[in-house]
Symmetry: D2
Subunit: 325 residues, 4 copies
């Protein structure tokens, strides 16, 4: 099958590679000519721009946008829409807001253009492991492009099969689903990332409590020196917290148990925030997912004024001077 790919970064480039390995043909574009050349050298067809890409794809076309959410994706959708014709499909595989997917699909529909929002998980590991995909849009379009999704997905692999799934969508076991109408794909991916934040923060707090067992704040007789790298490793087998995030933590701690190379300045993407917004909009208490997001804000010094307010009050009522940091 043929697919256009716009955006050849870490994710987009490897998606193209995995598709080509499966025998699909990719027409690729990136504003970096070098990125295009590299993939062309691996067998992809280079495009000099979106118009060229559309010209090089046969109808009904499918073009996958893998760009940062927001302005870059918005612009690409708009430009593609102007170039494509009825029956063609625009896929947004990035981390866009699900409400944008709803809006984009609605605005393209009158012109006969299809739109799929494909939440795509896999990171730098997707090329080998495959990509977990959550797809929103019309059933017919999702079905027509099944060869693409099927090739990108991890497949059954060696994962133990879940009992009781007879009669359910078999694609889920192969690592992709048609999650629902437009927006559903990005919605499910958004929640996935929200959960990811919560799980990461759970591990982060836990390992901090392990390490602080040797804290000089404790009476000396009570202190415990714990080898956090070995703990991460031992939990990988037979424990309840076995998970891919733990695997990654074990690798990082095996390389350096003190993590000295990291500053601990933790970025967040839009999806953690949108998950909180969705929870608030739908009256769902999301204490853990929200605390995980706020911990990232705090890691970046975002509570400075709040902290100063606390210090000012403490001085006001108790004459407390701030301790020296």
């Amino acid at each position: 099958m043929q697919l256009g790919m716009i955006g050849l970064g870490r994710m987009g480039g490897n998606i193209v590679r995995r598709l080509m390995r499966a025998g699909h043909c990719c027409v690729v574009y990136d504003r970096s000519a070098e990125a295009v050349r590299a993939l062309a050298g691996e067998g992809a067809t280079a495009a000099s721009g979106l118009a060229d890409m559309v010209a090089k794809l046969e109808a009904p076309r499918a073009a996958w946008i893998m760009l940062p959410a927001g302005a870059a994706t918005e612009e690409a959708v708009g430009e593609l829409a102007g170039l494509m014709q009825a029956g063609d499909t625009i896929i947004d595989g990035g981390n866009s807001n699900y409400k944008d997917a709803m809006r984009r699909a609605a605005s393209l529909r009158p012109r006969g253009l299809h739109f799929l929002d494909v939440g795509t998980s896999g990171g730098v590991w997707g090329l080998e492991r495959g990509y977990c995909m959550m797809i929103g849009g019309d059933k017919d379009t999702v079905d027509r492009l099944d060869p693409i999704f099927s090739a990108l997905a991890p497949g059954l692999g060696e994962v133990l099969r879940t009992g009781g799934r007879e009669g359910r969508d078999p694609r889920a076991e192969r690592g992709y689903i048609h999650a629902g109408p437009s927006g559903a794909g990005h919605y499910v991916k958004m929640v996935h990332n929200g959960i990811e934040y919560g799980m990461m923060q759970a591990f982060a707090e836990g390992f901090d409590i392990l390490r602080s067992a040797a804290s000089p704040e404790l009476p000396e007789a009570q202190r415990l020196e714990i080898d956090v790298a070995d703990v991460a490793e031992v939990w990988r087998r037979g424990s309840v917290v076995t998970s891919w995030l733990l695997d990654l933590t074990a690798s990082a701690l095996a390389a350096d148990p003190t993590l000295e190379g990291f500053s601990g300045f933790v970025e967040d993407s839009g999806e953690g925030r949108w998950t909180v917004n969705a929870a608030v909009e739908q009256s769902v208490p999301a204490d853990v997912l929200t605390a995980a997001l706020y911990a990232r804000f705090r890691s970046r010094g975002k509570a400075d004024f709040a902290n100063k307010i606390l210090s000012a009050m403490r001085k006001g009522f108790g004459g407390h001077q701030e301790p020296k940091s």
Copy 2:
């Protein structure tokens, strides 16, 4: 009435002054001879040590310990207990753990010594405003020392009286209560401080959100420059958040709306922590009080290893490099 005071810091010294203004006699001791001399110059009787203090008090004696919780208080209780005789009373007015009060009272009881745990709120303002006191211990002892508590308490003042309190303990309206048996005084004070943490954090977050309305993260047309000092002031009249903590905030922001003189490194005392422990022990969800405590930990950089774990995971699954701080 006569009272011994051990510990002449910000709180202890002013308690003595307020008692003397009301005509009571105080015998005072502090390991700083200068602090003792200063109060002697204001009319107190100086003691050179606890033995001297006990000798200078007439039976039944009452000695008030106003020292840091923990070792200092423990030692003073022990030494006093060895010097006093049946019928005498030891008062712990500091921020001790209520379980220590239970234990101390139980260990003194067989020897005929009384023990009162007096949670004391008032800070540097207590001399003028009076001290709010929550007292734990035997009813007889609390009653016998009523002249002391009555003199220290704020009294009715100009505070609007609460309807429906006919038949209830009239002391509450004058600013002190017999909260219950030993431990109850410090327990109630502990919860008071827990609530204080929560309220402070609520204001801190709110003022941070006010200030960040001008954040460069926002689209320019949406930014609002808000005068936080004026906001603090306006809320002091007629709003729902009217409170003494707001008064203090308004004062601090009037002096410097940017609070540049503060680093935002916020200490916590034991009582915030004990409140969380009590909540956990009693299965009470205390999300806000706990989050307030943890925000203080974070203000002091206590999550550094946790944050590095997050960074390490993010690099592991997505190849994300940490942003520059």
Copy 3:
């Protein structure tokens, strides 16, 4: 001065009364004819609808909308806009989203109509205590309507004056401010309510921990029976948590220390949610304000499915059966 008032509920009706006491003339409308008649009987001019109200006001007119945020307010703004003429002013005194205020002001400006967003705090007590007002909009319009705001505000009262406010806006001390351009009034009111949620939850948790000191979960020797009504009262004088919310709590607990008449099903309005949204949008960690919101969601049973997921996992890994509730 003349003011039109649309919406004569708890807030709107009392605002009219307070204005009339100060000698202002009010033209009033409500979809309930009875509410209109009642205020007409107290001296207001009745209007049969918005057109009638506009007809009965002299230019430059000012009409205050005091309706539920959302559809009701949107409709009233739209209808008024169609009836008014350049130079007239529409005031939204309700709890609208500040982004709506920005949008409404922008859409009215080309037609010469002024728009003020007035965050109004005071509840059922405003008639006597006065209303704390945070006003957004053009300076000229705010200044022209100063007699209205000045009459509604609490005034200096007996509140101790904050030092260091020389040279600052004197209105803040009388209980109202011009917070900034359109949206700023509702933004500040939104944050006020966010803080209010946090403070309320701090008290709620604290009193729960007081009450649970007698929990049968504790060893009997450790249990404490604490009179929560007396505690609320004693904290009203000299303590750090002194506040109007505490006054209200003391009143409620004096009437019934067990609060048996309440189910504990706690509603939330939009402003608590919007505060969280603003915090998330501006990268401000708002742990306490958000936890307070989520506690309300949970009070209404909004975590039921989440809890079932937990139970299902526990059964999955440990064979744990749910305890009987």
Copy 4:
């Protein structure tokens, strides 16, 4: 090797079975004679009590206690200590507090008795999957009993090996570690369970947000019906949240996507609470782990009085009546 097992519940019984499969000899006791008979029927040696068990074990003896933490375990340790002789070892494999392990080891040491605290994860799956074990105590004792631990542990299995572990303790890769001196085993297990709580809550909130995408609170056009069973399944392959807890969730949702059989009344064990206590004691902000614990308290209606306080305040300032539940 020979091992005594006290407590033949879900965990203890299967530990015995796994040991016997590996060729070890077990002497078993439980206060339920039927449980003893059942295992005797599978090849274990029945003991009629602890004295009988000690008599049937050859020195140096090892007896594993697998009882509820607290009184039951305390009593068994005490009774065994009275029966055993220098060189023997008592193992506590239950979920005891690590401070109890420190205390017990210290009290047994003068009598030449060894004590190991073995945090044991595996639940009902341990018999087949093996048990992940975190062991605290003296190195010699841990080494001597290695055949037991080695047989119980999962072994390398098919889990991908972590790079960079050359030179590190090889036992970690086989699913058990010597975590440190007495207390370290239960400390690490405690943190494991704390993390487990956080991860579970992250999933619980995420699936709740997925389900509530169809909430009637949302505008109809925005609602999404999401098949949560398929989502759980699809995330098992290639996503970042891949984990054993997700596997269990997928199984439960495949059996019943509405989880109607569960009430959502979620119990907690001591370890989640102790994790919070340790965090507080060591000044580590543990927002997520704590929020997860409190969510369980709330699931059991533990915030009722707090919620009533909120309702009472809302009525006080705004005249708000509680909505009907």
